[in-house]
Subunit: 334 residues, 2 copies
DNA sequence: TCAACAAATGGGAACGTTCCCATTATAACA
DNA sequence: TGTTATAATGGGAACGTTCCCATTTGTTGA
């Protein structure tokens, strides 16, 4: 295998110095005639720029990392697309990392980002602490509405408010006994949703009932189990709010299997509005989040940080949620 | 910001040469006592290995690229997970690239892989030719059952056979007039599925009817449109086979909207068995593909190529498909 | 036409590793 | 204990860029 040509080879071929070739490549100021000479040399030799050598000098890799729990959850592909579309345009490659809800993997990925001198990190944190993130010394933007990481930019949706919308909707339909299926986090609960739920109860003088709150892994089986727990209560809830659509879809299935009509016997509301929410039967009422936009915005903020274009303090970007009322909610049976 | 320590700093601190530090890091043979000295120095200085500098010397980046059309299609996240799980264990980072069915983007990504000296490429090719792939000089494994890229390893599923299974199932239920919704490819048709379909017709002496074959983009709307085309025919088919589940789900919706009962008036079969196929109403009969396994296998084959562990010629790895009979198929109405 | 100045170009060091080869320390054996 | 073989270590070049600074070339205006 013939050795790959370097800028030195190109320089010789074109009869200029390697500095000039470098300038041509990186868009420095060169005379038009020499630029053309160099370009033909590049063509002739089949020269391919070596990003590694370049990174070595510039301390820039043009690679960022996107660390999420699990690409298999349909929420994330949309976010990922948003990230990629922005990053592609900016000439960055995006490395994916699935922590799989495991803190150890998350840490491994952070080390990987450091070793490889990636230019930045987008992360939906699982276990990692703010200090650990700080220690990477890499520009970092959080994805998700997290208030427990002061000092970091974050991009997410206003899930507290979204939960309120869902509950208001159910309340106005006449529901007074509303179950909550939480997604189990390794370390911390889906704090804002839970708080929103409790606040709502208090505000409308509804009793807090711990049996109405169940917590299961963020997958369909989790939702299924959760719904079974709730619907087998002595006095089952007339409505169920799930922390995301996957859980809600599991709940839908459980209700179906147990002979509960949806929305006749029990109303179900999800969150996220993944593509499949439209095609369940009945179609799922859900709190829609602008997934793609979260991705593009997170990427944009990160780029700004990387390029030092913003000296502003860290900032939280929260997109509003929108309740999509579909067929899975109705007034409770008399 | 203090300069990052290098192995030279570590060497000084530990009182050894940089060569020794290098050996400690990369697992060369060093005396246990010196290894410990070096390790404490690394700890003390907070040294982080510089993968860029390393790559520069070794021509290894430990990064591979996974190029697919669109991560947003639920088929791909599963494959991606498989790829990542294997690559993580091998210490590789995976860069994602969504060509978005555009050949120009695909080419851009290949150049990126070259520039960045990635160690290998996993690709579900859209427009790129075998020659172009060859010219990257990077170990490449194709994902999908493609026979039109001689010289390349490929990992996919036996979709010809899967289509046969689906058709046999429909045929044995009594269907004789079966529509096909194809996914539109930018450049070439889903050849094996189409061939399988036509072969089946011939074999069972069913008439070829061009109006029974429609082609639309690989999304839900495409499936919707396709089904409308088919169901508004003077003599509509009693069963529809869609090229993937997303198309099938669109078809399901269209049938529903047009007042066709599924499976009463029309049976529908999808392909892939994405997670949402289980939760449609009725649940979708579909040709299941081992998505995760395709991912792990593709990654494994690529690793073998990268490490030169195989001098075998290129090889096609085809997983068998399995028909999952659910609720969307039944005998045709008399 | 010649300064004076700006623009274009060239040369060489530097980035932080790895790897080859030479050298030194240790172990094994007679 | 001396000799030889082996293991451990050190020194320096090399990987292919970029960037600084010095030098050359070109341009402009009196």
């Amino acid at each position: 295998m013939p050795k790959r040509p370097t800028i030195i080879d190109v320089a010789e071929y074109a009869g200029v110095s390697k500095s000039t070739v470098s300038r041509v490549i990186s868009g420095g100021s060169v005379r038009e005639t020499t630029r053309r000479r160099v370009m033909t040399a590049i063509e002739a030799l089949g020269y391919e720029h070596n990003a590694i050598a370049s990174s070595m000098r510039t301390n820039r890799t043009n690679i960022i990392m996107l660390a999420i729990p699990d690409i298999t959850n349909p929420f994330w592909p949309d976010v990922a697309r948003g990230v990629q579309d922005v990053m592609d345009d900016a000439g960055y490659a995006v490395v994916f990392a699935n922590s799989d809800w495991r803190g150890s993997r998350e840490k491994m990925f952070l080390r990987m980002a450091q070793r490889n001198r990636f230019d930045g990190i987008l992360i939906n944190p699982i276990q990692v602490t703010a200090t650990e993130l700080d220690e990477t010394h890499l520009p970092t933007v959080l994805i998700g509405s997290r208030t427990d990481y002061p000092g970091f930019d974050s991009v997410g949706s206003h899930s507290y408010d979204g939960t309120q919308q869902a509950l208001k909707h159910l309340f106005s339909l006449g529901h007074r006994r509303i179950g909550l299926i939480q997604g189990k986090r390794v370390n911390r609960p889906g704090a804002s949703r839970m708080k929103s739920y409790l606040d709502f109860l208090d505000e409308h003088s509804l009793p807090r009932d711990d049996t109405l709150i169940v917590e299961y892994p963020f997958d369909q089986r989790g939702g299924y189990q959760g719904a079974i727990d709730l619907l087998t209560l002595p006095v089952p809830p007339t409505a169920i709010l799930a922390a995301n659509d996957i859980l809600a879809m599991g709940a839908l299935q459980a209700a179906h299997d147990m002979g509960f009509a949806v929305p006749g016997d029990v109303s179900i509301v999800g969150q996220d509005d993944i593509f499949a929410a439209k095609i369940t039967v009945p179609p799922l009422t859900t709190v829609a989040k602008p997934k793609y936009e979260i991705g593009t915005q997170a990427a944009t903020v990160l780029l700004a940080r990387i390029n030092g274009e913003t000296d502003r303090q860290w900032q939280q970007h929260l997109f509003p949620c929108r309740l999509k009322i579909r067929g899975s909610t109705a007034p409770p049976r008399e």
